[in-house]
């Protein structure tokens, strides 16, 4: 009876001991993925900001500038790309709608970001665009991978349409979470005009060619990222845009088109932190809590199994000796 029990315990010990690494290194990378149908909006504000009045072409100080960024998972497109690539893919259609203090649109930039649902690495497929122009992303955007590492990442900048390093700067405490702080600086770079701008009758796509005026941009981008989910819980940008040269400026060398410190609206910070806090336990359950518990359980059961086996063995041997035939 004891031998049978020790064998059952041994089977259970191996079951739990094997489940521990299988869960962490086989199941987790396959189960943890960004859902393809996610919908999320975030509101960011620069208070105050400097904004170009396009009717006078003079920079003015305004009370606030608001950026509404929506991310919408396109399930039909992701399934189409999955059939061609054989990977779990997420397609995010996004829109950055920039609005002045009077509620009027300042610019709108649509994007399509296609990435691997598990690793968040960009996937290249037709339709990958920024403001209607095809791009090829070499870095992450919007979200870091699950189990974010303490290292620099390549982060795609939608204005310059290139990827550049975003540097890991250490651990920070943020609203009760230990998060990783990342920072990226984009130096002054000439960038295209957004196709949707508040200048009636002007074709933004030919503005530079017809006027000789160019648009320049620099930013310092900061993210506070929860390392378990890879989700930024806060983001800020110190952002500057200028128009330089050409006939549009009436002989001036440059004018500020926008300058401000853009921060997430506090209610969206609260919402994001709560969302991340609700998702974190699922990741930690699969990567840490369950594997460790199963490993300990496997060890405990193995010890119990060996103990029972050791107790059963002398009796068996003794019983065997009693029944053994006497030597001749």
């Amino acid at each position: 009876m004891r031998r049978r029990a020790s064998l059952v315990l041994l089977a259970l010990a191996v079951f739990f001991a094997a489940l521990s690494p299988l869960l962490r290194w086989y199941a987790f990378p396959r189960l943890a993925k960004v859902p393809p149908g996610q919908y999320q909006e975030v509101v960011m504000e620069a208070k105050p900001a400097t904004l170009l009045d396009y009717s006078t072409l003079r920079a003015e100080r305004v009370e606030r500038l608001t950026i509404v960024q929506t991310l919408k998972g396109n399930v039909e497109e992701s399934e189409k790309i999955e059939r061609g690539t054989g990977r779990d893919v997420v397609v995010w259609d996004s829109l950055s709608h920039v609005q002045g203090p009077d509620g009027a649109m300042v610019s709108q930039i649509p994007e399509r970001y296609i990435f691997d649902a598990h690793s968040q690495a960009p996937v290249h497929a037709p339709g990958e665009t920024v403001d209607g122009t095809p791009v090829r992303r070499d870095g992450i955007q919007f979200k870091w991978p699950f189990l974010t590492e303490r290292r620099d990442y390549s982060y795609f900048d939608a204005q310059t349409r290139t990827a550049a390093p975003i540097h890991y700067r250490g651990v920070r405490a943020f609203r009760g979470l230990d998060v990783y702080y990342f920072e990226q600086t984009i130096p002054w770079t000439k960038v295209p005009f957004p196709k949707k701008m508040p200048i009636p009758g002007i074709d933004a796509s030919t503005l530079e060619k017809t006027t000789g005026t160019t648009r320049w941009y620099t930013t310092r981008r900061m993210f506070w990222v929860d390392p378990a989910t890879g989700a930024p819980v806060n983001g800020e940008e110190i952002h500057r845009e200028e128009l330089r040269g050409g006939t549009l400026l009436g002989g001036r060398d440059r004018v500020t088109a926008f300058a401000g410190h853009v921060k997430m609206r506090p209610d969206y910070v609260d919402h994001t932190v709560e969302l991340v806090k609700s998702q974190r336990p699922l990741i930690l359950l699969l990567t840490s809590w369950l594997p460790r518990t199963f490993l300990a359980l496997g060890g405990g059961l193995l010890a119990l199994s060996l103990l029972l086996e050791a107790r059963a063995r002398p009796r068996t041997l003794a019983a065997g000796a009693e029944t053994a035939p006497a030597p001749l």
């Binding site: 489940l19 998972g73 992701s78 829109l95 609005q99």
Partner: protein, 45 residues
């Protein structure tokens, strides 16, 4: 021999469980009917 069989059963059960769970995966869901926003939303609840 019995111990080896018991260990093999435990290993096979763990592998089968993990394979089944990962094969089932997670549901794809649907594209949200919500639009890409062009107005500033009110306070987030």
């Amino acid at each position: 021999m019995r111990a080896l069989t018991a260990a093999a059963i435990g290993l096979a059960a763990a592998t089968a469980l993990v394979l089944i769970v990962t094969a089932v995966g997670t549901p794809a869901g649907e594209t949200s009917p919500e639009p890409l926003l062009t107005t500033v939303p009110g306070p987030k609840k």
